[in-house]
Symmetry: C2
Subunit: 282 residues, 2 copies
């Protein structure tokens, strides 16, 4: 497994790709969720193809009060996991390599970024789009894999690829969960045992609302109420948002009439967790 | 010479490039200035290389009161000129091909865009960056050629390539002029004979100021005064700006101490013309 730290070296390698290359962009602190993205990348690349994992804690996507400095960075463990999982190349630049002093260019999305996580994290998705555009240009993959847990991010990246004509395919990969339903996240390590015990309430709330849709409920307000009531049962949790939005445009809907996203963000202590469920009528 | 109108066909062709590809992005209405960019592209691509000219009047870079609808579109003549000049491929999409309904992603530059043309044309450079990023992704050239007449645009595109790591080289190509010094522009056709007779004053004013720098003048205010006074001698002209800025950051300077850009935009009737001169101390 090759480990590349410089932007120039990455770019040189990418210019010479002959086979199918699939990228898995990560911020490291890899867990089974990431490993399932890597497996998905391998299936897309084929045995002869090249699977590239980028590990970069992107300062641009953290707000001034967020957890940039304490975000976990277990690099040695991450590299061992990548090696075990058959990754061909890890691209692990540092921030000075990625961002020139006086950098002044960003990629911005204006329709899907306003709600959900964009509301409480202004600038976050501009940071995500900008770093992902850079990674696409540096690695020049034929496809890239993103997790569906970060549904809004996945939708925005798809939009960026469409609107800027990036020559690659975006693959969404299913959320991996603990046995009690909690979605895997690098931030789960922040949870105290008591918080960890309560955190699966997010998934339970989403499933309850999903069940109501299957039973015929269409009213978004009622569904939001179902989610909020269930979340309120967890005394350590504080809801950031519980939303019912169109699964494509991410705009709030009054009724479930097309594929619809139920999305939750909630704090447990200082740790912000997200999860989602797509429901449809059929 | 191949003429490609669909985005899908262009992308398919680009995926199969084997040799060196050089792009000349244009809005058509080609004149000798464009043809010199095409010649520059051929020199960069080599005889075996591929020279691609894009012809696309990009609605995103026109303001609501600008000349989008009357911008000249002499397509047949443009194609004939490209053929004569040995262009290999013309990419000529229409606006519906380039912009999906509900498009929501832009590329934005925040440092170089505020002054000069950016002040009187808000949103212009976001439109330029966005379409150029799309063209880079669709055509995947090894290099792209831009004219130095549009100095600010060239500086912003260089910045975009650096900050987003586009894997290509930007080549700046010298301004081509009429014998009386007027910089060639597709907009020159708008000028009445009387306006056309006065328009070379822009170049004269810049050269006068340049002469003063060579004679030892360093004060930006005095140099601006030299330019403005000369421009005032043309009764049909109306100055939009006359600026003395750092040639790299495009920020206003008080004194000429590093390479410095003298830049002018002036209206003759409804027609807005620009030109510039880089001066240095050496």
């Amino acid at each position: 497994m090759k480990v590349v730290r410089s932007v120039a070296a990455m770019s040189r390698l990418a210019a010479a790709w002959k086979n199918c290359v699939v990228l898995v962009p990560t911020m490291g602190a890899l867990h089974e969720g990431h490993l399932s993205l890597i497996d998905r990348a391998r299936r897309a690349a084929g045995r002869e193809g090249t699977v590239v994992v980028s590990i970069f804690v992107n300062p641009l996507q953290f707000g001034p009060k967020e957890d940039l400095s304490r975000y976990p960075r277990p690099l040695r463990r991450d590299l061992a996991l990548c090696r075990e999982r058959g990754v061909d190349l890890v691209f692990h630049p540092d921030a000075d390599e990625m961002y020139a002093p006086g950098r002044s260019v960003t990629v911005d999305e204006s329709l899907l970024t306003g709600g959900l996580c964009g509301r409480s994290r202004p600038g976050h998705f501009s940071g995500v789009c900008t770093v992902v555009a850079k990674l696409f240009n540096l690695v020049r993959p034929h496809a890239a894999v993103f997790g569906q847990k970060d549904y809004q991010q996945l939708a925005i990246i798809r939009r960026m690829v469409r609107d800027l004509n990036f020559p690659l395919e975006i693959i969404g990969s299913e959320t991996v969960r603990e046995s009690d339903g909690l979605a895997l996240s690098s931030r789960n390590v922040y949870l105290t045992p008591a918080e960890r015990a309560e955190a699966p309430v997010i998934r339970r709330a989403l499933l309850l609302a999903g069940k109501r849709v299957r039973a015929g409920e269409r009213d978004a307000g009622i569904l939001r109420g179902v989610i909020e009531k269930e979340l309120a049962a967890a005394p350590l949790g504080r809801v950031d948002y519980a939303e019912v939005v169109d699964a494509e445009t991410l705009q709030p809907v009054a009724r479930v009439e097309r594929p619809t996203l139920l999305a939750v963000a909630a704090y447990f202590g200082r740790t912000r967790l997200i999860d989602n469920l797509v429901v449809s009528l059929k």
